[in-house]
Assembly symmetry: C2
Homo-oligomer: 298 residues x 2
DNA sequence: AAATCGCTCTTCATTTTTGTAGAACAGCAC
DNA sequence: GTGCTGTTCTACAAAAATGAAGAGCGATTT
């Protein structure tokens, strides 16, 4: 037998009458009309099957039943207040959490953040740099700047920045000593520096194995930046993001071995969790950031 | 700034949609129409200023905000359930608590209780015998059988049983040794046994002092039954309820000194707290008990 | 490829709830 | 006493919420 007590709002009315001692006073406290208050109390008494107030011309006086229910009613009120409080917290602006490779959050990107912060000083950021893939759908971060090796969740809001290209690079010093592979076929004669098993993308690993026997691949780097440093110091050849290597190629530190193979192209995306995208400040930020960020990557 | 969140019932709807994942399923769980569920959610989102669900053709999927509010909503639900539970406890029959002098709950009265219990075995009693005056308005007891020395609260439901009469009695053995006071005027030559200062009724004390100098009044009894026992064993003369002494007079143990003075008459009442009188079983009991109890006192 | 299922939305008539206005009444101050 | 204040009712009109029916839409099954 289910209880018929389904109009929880009547508890508010009950408490107001309890506290003020009259339906008239309660009505002005609640901002509703006096007859409505009286009717809500009638209805409540009816569903509970209890008399809660003694009516007479000088007010509503609580019966013992009413006194005994007061505690429970107040527990309900405080639950309602903390619900509203929590909602109000969620409504307040929170920092925008952005995850990306450290490289994408430094250099020219920082100028974009600075420009944005100058315009919107009230909007704060939280940066989560690193290779770890945060789960945007689970709310671990709001925005991700990522190379989309795997198909992103279709729910995510998605902006394409560029197509990232990868190819082999080696230091000028390395080339002097060992020459350099001018095509994928020649890779097998070189020492290949690569990310560790647990950090390397399956797609890249597969491509590498098609060109080179396993024993030539040195998988000891946990982060791309460590591998890149090793390449720059001439310890071997390594697959690098063309954009990341660009300035080193220009100043002669690095040599680009051959044109980026199509198979290694990957979209560079801005991903936004739909929950975050619902926040005004996040949309404002994305609108500002996306074109400028894309411009960096031509 | 007061929150606009005033329709607490919307939390029920919120939880139902949260649990079932669709407004249609929630509507059948709640026993209301599907469009109503959707409208309640819209309204809730609007007053909270938060998006709670992602709508599409296959249902309502909770956003992160909804997930974060779920705990608070459930706290509210459990408060509502315990409110309903408490109400249901109050609705259940409880024992009828009766307070009276022990003498009024024994003897012929017990027959009335037995007869009533035979007819209504489901109705239980709790007896609170003794001189202590329980506060019926505060809910300390439901029914009192009392001599109304003081004006009872006008809110109390009240039935008159009889006019109790008091006068002086002494044991036959006492009369043999000292004679007995045949009028109030003669009392000053006797030893008067009376209740202690903290137990005696002001009205009686005043009357006694009008007849007798203070030093003749022995106020050492905390209970009427102790004083009566002392009178019966011939230790002095004492004011007793005429009805209580009746059988002892008939069998010659006690002597009624003189006719009961009008000034000591006091109404004997059945008093019922208005809260208790609202309970059906209490009314049933009073209807049965009152005439039979009054019959005992002629 | 078509049919079905389980949803959401929209519309509109109906029902329910609410508010307004005023009568009646007790307590209190003058 | 008389008038004032604070209260509860009642009646009726206005406003709001609700439900029923049906269109539309994906996903899934046949």
């Amino acid at each position: 037998m289910k209880s018929d007590f389904d109009n929880w709002s009547d508890i508010r009315v009950f408490l107001a009458v309890m506290r003020t001692g009259s339906t008239l006073a309660a009505s002005s406290e609640l901002g509703i009309a006096q007859p409505t208050v009286a009717r809500r109390i009638d209805a409540l008494e009816h569903v509970l099957g209890l008399v809660l107030f003694e009516r007479d011309t000088r007010g509503f006086r609580p019966t013992q039943n009413a006194h005994l229910l007061r505690d429970e009613a107040e527990r309900m009120e405080s639950a309602a207040l903390s619900f509203a409080e929590k909602a109000s917290t969620l409504r307040r602006p929170r920092p925008i959490r952005i995850t990306a490779f450290a490289a994408n959050l430094s250099g020219r990107s920082t100028d974009i953040f600075n420009d944005f912060s100058a315009r919107h000083p009230e909007i704060e950021f939280e940066f989560l740099p690193g290779a770890r893939v945060f789960d945007l759908m689970a709310g671990e971060a709001d925005i991700a700047l990522r190379l989309a090796w795997t198909q992103p969740d279709p729910e995510l809001v998605c902006r394409k920045v560029s197509t990232a290209q990868f190819t082999m690079f080696c230091a000028a010093s390395y080339a002097e000593r060992h020459g350099f592979p001018a095509s994928p076929q020649e890779l097998k004669d070189h020492k290949i520096l690569a990310l560790r098993h647990d950090a390397i993308t399956p797609r890249i690993y597969k491509w590498l194995r098609q060109q080179v026997p396993e024993e030539r691949i040195y998988q000891k780097f946990s982060e791309a930046s460590l591998r890149d440093a090793a390449v720059r110091t001439g310890q071997g050849v390594g697959l690098m993001n063309v954009r990341m290597a660009e300035s080193d190629v220009k100043n002669g530190t690095l040599i680009r071995c051959f044109d980026p193979p199509e198979a290694l192209n990957v979209p560079h995306l801005i991903l936004i969790s739909p929950d975050a995208y619902r926040r005004r400040e996040v949309r404002t930020f994305v609108k500002f950031f996306a074109p400028r960020y894309a411009a960096i990557y031509k």
